[in-house]
Each structure stands twice: as structure tokens, then as C-alpha cells.
Symmetry: C2
Subunit: 154 residues, 2 copies
Amino acid sequence: MADEALFQFLHYELMQYIYKSADSKETENGRNITKLENMGFRVGQGLIERLTKDTARFKDELDTMKFICKDFWTCVFKKQIDNLRTNHQGIYVLQDNKFRLLSQLSAGKQYLEHAPKYLAFSCGLVRGALSNLGVKSIVTAEVSVMPTILLQKI
Amino acid sequence: MADEALFQFLHYELMQYIYKSADSKETENGRNITKLENMGFRVGQGLIERLTKDTARFKDELDTMKFICKDFWTCVFKKQIDNLRTNHQGIYVLQDNKFRLLSQLSAGKQYLEHAPKYLAFSCGLVRGALSNLGVKSIVTAEVSVMPTILLQKI
């Protein structure tokens, strides 16, 4: 339990630092999101290399995606993705009903506007992991009550 | 194995970001170290709270220090401290013969000058953890071949 806390705390510090060190203008906000996303990308690249070191080659894209939902997600968030849907045309929806990085936020709707900065790093993580597995993608996140990570292949 | 990699990668990104976002002047260097140390401090505070949630009260300072060497260190670095020494007058030397955050650095002496920025966060971690356990301390790190964390109570 404390293991996952380490990641949460570190992620929080990272986020806070990026937001504090930059100007708090509206235009800066997008840039901070991008910074976090890029960091996630590099961490995702590194992680997936370690994780797939002894794994057999993936059959297809869906197989790759299942690996992300199970092994990769468990490595980072200590749980699997709860639901994976796809339209079989390159769009995948990964739903996590108890996303760790948001579970500390208050549940009220008024806090939803802060969600993007809590999600950017994780979107980057997935994009980086997929990138190293040969899948170019656009990863975005949506939060309703609990966050869903929506993945779109390009 | 990939679990510990997550921390390593994240730590690396954090360090790189702090060093890139600040000026690379000599005077700035100390400030960056302090920033990293402070981040470590807060993460350490948070972590120790989770870790000691169900732990019995510590008998004495040495008992506290043993907890840091075993449980706390294992939580963060996936291994225990290799050697704990004390002069029983408030100085503790914690020796880690295979410190994860430095294990990726080349072994040559010429790289030792870069070591402080790899150690600042961890010094903060220990200081933060001890602080929440009621032990005010000064934590410094020394690297010979492999790093030792030297702890001094004030």
C-alpha cells in the first residue's frame, strides 16, 4: 500500500513543481500539461522496455492493448483497468473506475476542472509505452465521475 | 523489477526538470539541491505516515532508525540498508552498497561530482520520515564507491 503511495506522492510533487515554477497564466496551463505529458511519455517508454523484456511478441494490437490494461497498469497503479472497449477501428477506451491519482481529490463537480493536470502524466505514460511497442497513438483522458482514459490510434 | 523502475524513472525526470528549468549557474546548483531535498522531505513525511499506520510505538531512537533501514528503505528502494552504525550520541551512518539511484551512473571517479543531485531527494526522504517520527535531523550523503547516507541528529 505504501508502495503505490510513493508514486502518488512523487507525482504530486512533480505536478506541483511544474505548476509553481511556471507562470499561472491561462496560456501557460497548456504548456504545463504538455510538460507533464512528455515526462510521462519518457517514463512510459522506459517502463515498457523493462516490462516486456521477457514477453513473447504480441499477436496484434488488441493483444498489445490488453497488456497495457493488465501488466502495465498494474505496475504503475497496482490494479488492472476495469473495462476495455474498442470499435475495432483503432479506438480503444480504457476505463479505470478507481484511478489512483484522482482518488485523493474531492468528489464535487467543481473540482473536475483541476482533473486535466492530474491526468496528463498518465496519458503520456500510455502513449510512451505504446510508442515503444510500435503503436503510434493519441491518448486523451475524460473524467465523468471517475476517470476514463480514452485512447485513439492514429 | 519494473516497480522500482517506475520510481527511478520518475526521480530522474524530476531531477532533470529541476535542473533544466533553472539556470545552470554555480549558485543555482545549491538551490536545485535544496528544491529536490524539500520534495523528498514532503514525500518522506507522507510515506512514513502510511508505513507506520499500524506499527507499535518505537521504543527508542535506535528502534526508529532500524525501521528506516528496513521497512522504509525497502518500500522506496526495494532493499534494506546494508549496514547501520551509530556512536550512540546521535550520529547514525546508514550504508547502502547498491544504491538504486546511482546504480545507473558510470562507475568512474569523474562522475562522482554529479552524485549530489542524485542523492538530495533521498536525503530529504529520510529527513522527512524522521521528522514525522519526532526526530529532528540533518541528513547528508557521502559517496565513496557506493553511496553512504550519513545521518546526524541535531
